[in-house]
């Protein structure tokens, strides 16, 4: 009797992020990524399952929403609630933007860097226009495929924020997280973030919305500064 391809095969750990273990595998014979939000033994079990399920649900929901907006994200194949696992498309021909920036800096390729910043800025702009925040924008969570398409991954901390005042705050924090991630990991990439911000601003068509977001962003930045008052 001929048997159907196994559900999972060739499972191989590729990395352990902060949130989850990422495996490569074959899912019904197709190349796939398996993202398992493993049990955090340091967290109280009640807290852990509440936080994990909330993030799992959010990730699936917002990955799909982002895709609807025409932003490249991996496709979801299957969700296994009991194992806290998402099985999704394997973008095997892509590299993280983090490593690409490092290469470009070594090559001193400013033109390509500017292009990349432009791409990142407009993509985030599009996401934000739909009131979606990513929640963990770092250059490790962006992939660039072989044909130069920017993919956003890891929507575990993302949220849809329709409420107007909460939204501005959330968008601004999202940008601020990215700014600090870039300052911390890519000190040598001068102007990279300001180029992203420029492209981001250009992607917002509504003048009023743009000013409001930028003002809020400045406010959030100042907030970080003020800390360290007491010690």
């Amino acid at each position: 009797m001929e048997s159907a391809p196994p559900v999972y095969s060739n499972i191989e750990l590729i990395c352990q992020g902060a949130e989850a273990r990422i495996f490569r595998c074959l899912y019904f014979g197709r190349r796939a990524i398996l993202k398992e939000r493993f049990v955090k033994t340091y967290r109280h079990p009640d807290l852990d399952s509440a936080v994990t399920l909330q993030r799992l649900k959010g990730e699936v929901r917002l990955l799909t929403r982002a895709k609807q907006l025409g932003i490249h994200t991996p496709s979801i194949y299957h969700i296994d609630w009991s194992k806290r696992t998402i099985i999704m498309e394997d973008l095997y021909d892509s590299r993280t933007v983090k490593s690409i920036i490092d290469t470009l800096i070594q090559e001193n390729n400013t033109m390509k860097l500017d292009e990349l910043a432009q791409q990142i800025g407009s993509t985030i702009g599009r996401l934000h226009q739909a009131q979606i925040v990513h929640g963990d924008l770092t250059t490790s969570n962006m992939l660039l495929s072989e044909n130069n398409q920017l993919y956003l991954i890891d929507f575990g901390l993302s949220a849809h924020v329709p409420n107007k005042t909460q939204m501005l705050e959330a968008l601004a924090v999202d940008l601020y997280v990215l700014e600090r991630a870039i300052i911390c990991t890519h000190q040598k990439a001068k102007h990279f973030f300001s180029n992203i911000l420029m492209a981001y601003k250009n992607s917002i068509s509504d003048d009023k919305q743009r000013t409001l977001t930028m003002n809020k962003y400045e406010e959030v930045r100042a907030r970080g500064r003020k800390r360290s008052m007491v010690g």
Partner: protein, 350 residues
């Protein structure tokens, strides 16, 4: 030639004086200003406290270190900031006076850098991700290109401040510290109460949790008044302490893990007053075990604000500067706001 550094710390309610000779702690006495239960420490009263004990403490430090005269000290270090203005100024004034009397160089040290350098000295950790948690600060820090960079931090109150204010609500004793008493009560906690869990990217927020727990405490008191209400809705203080610790620390461990993953480091160093909480150390250990990383934790002698840490950071700064002049008198002012990443780290060349 061996360099002997003396460090004066008084940015909050502790005053400490430590003497270090080339990485060896000779003495490190400390005195804490303890307020009655339900009260915090006010800047002016804290300054008066520091004023009243600083000279006795200095004598003690010299005696324990077996140093006859201040003339045998090579460099005077003090906390330049961040911290409470009045106590900082008291200590700075004493240090400036002494240094001029004995004609010695002065170094003003960033308090947070003091914690980091002391942690590195004691644990031998080379390039760890640093979780700095105290009454006034909550930061996750990684070194890169001559700066200690802040990866994530609290966007409102510090974790220690959240714990202190919670302890005031329950009227817990401030002796030896509110955090210690919460930790002891938490050990007897049974029931986990769901509290808000607020991680925003690399940042955390604690003020909402404090407000939330306030409403629970108020509700509790009312439930006890109307005795006919079912006891189910009232929690014990032990449960509250337990749940608060579990929630706060889970958030801290999570952002530390995030930073570890992002930087690609496998060492965590916990510093600051909250860092001596054993439960936090345990949770951090559990996280690290799963990532094949290690935790470097230090005990209360060096976790809590102390003079030796200021001496150590000051020694590093002094040693890296080949002119050996220290700071000019104009530069020895204090600042309540002085960010960790504002300091150029001249003494590390990695």
């Amino acid at each position: 030639m061996a360099i002997t550094a003396i460090g004066f710390e008084g940015s909050a309610n502790k005053i400490g004086i430590g003497i270090i000779r080339d990485g060896e702690v000779l003495s490190n006495p400390r005195h804490t200003y303890i307020t009655p239960p339900g009260e915090g420490f006010r800047p002016n009263l804290t300054a008066k406290h520091h004023q009243s004990v600083i000279l006795d403490l200095l004598e003690k430090a010299l005696k324990e270190a077996n140093i006859k005269s201040l003339a045998d000290i090579d460099v005077f270090c003090f906390t330049k900031g961040p911290g409470m203005g009045a106590p900082l100024i008291v200590v700075a004034t004493v240090v400036r006076t002494l240094a001029q009397l004995y004609n010695k160089p002065i170094i003003g040290v960033n308090h947070c850098i003091g914690h980091i350098e002391m942690g590195r000295l004691i644990t031998g950790a080379k390039n760890p991700v640093v979780l700095y948690v105290s009454g006034g600060n909550t930061q996750i820090i990684a070194y890169s290109e001559h700066r200690y960079r802040i990866f994530g931090e609290t966007i409102d109150i510090a974790v220690g401040n959240c714990l202190d204010r919670f302890a005031r609500l329950l009227k817990l004793s401030n002796d030896p510290s509110p955090g210690y008493n919460i930790e002891q009560l938490a050990k007897k906690g049974q029931n986990y109460i769901q509290l808000p869990y607020t991680v925003k990217g690399m940042d955390v927020s604690f003020s909402g949790i404090l407000s939330h727990i306030k409403t629970i405490i108020v509700g509790n008191k009312q439930a006890r008044k109307n005795q006919n209400e079912i006891k189910q809705h009232s929690y014990t203080n032990e449960d509250l302490c337990f749940s608060l610790q579990e929630t706060l620390f889970a958030m801290l461990v999570e952002i530390t893990e995030r930073a570890l993953a992002h930087v690609g480091s496998n060492q965590v160093l916990i510093v600051g007053g909250v860092g001596c909480n054993v439960r936090l150390q345990e949770m951090m250990g559990a996280m690290c075990k799963e990532r094949q990383a290690t935790v470097c934790a230090i005990d209360e002698r060096y976790c809590i604000d102390n003079g030796a840490m200021i001496a150590q950071a000051g020694y590093e700064m002094y040693n890296a500067d080949k002119t050996r002049k220290g700071m000019t008198l104009d530069e020895t002012n204090c600042s309540q706001r002085y960010r960790t990443d504002a300091v150029y780290v001249s003494w590390r060349d990695d």
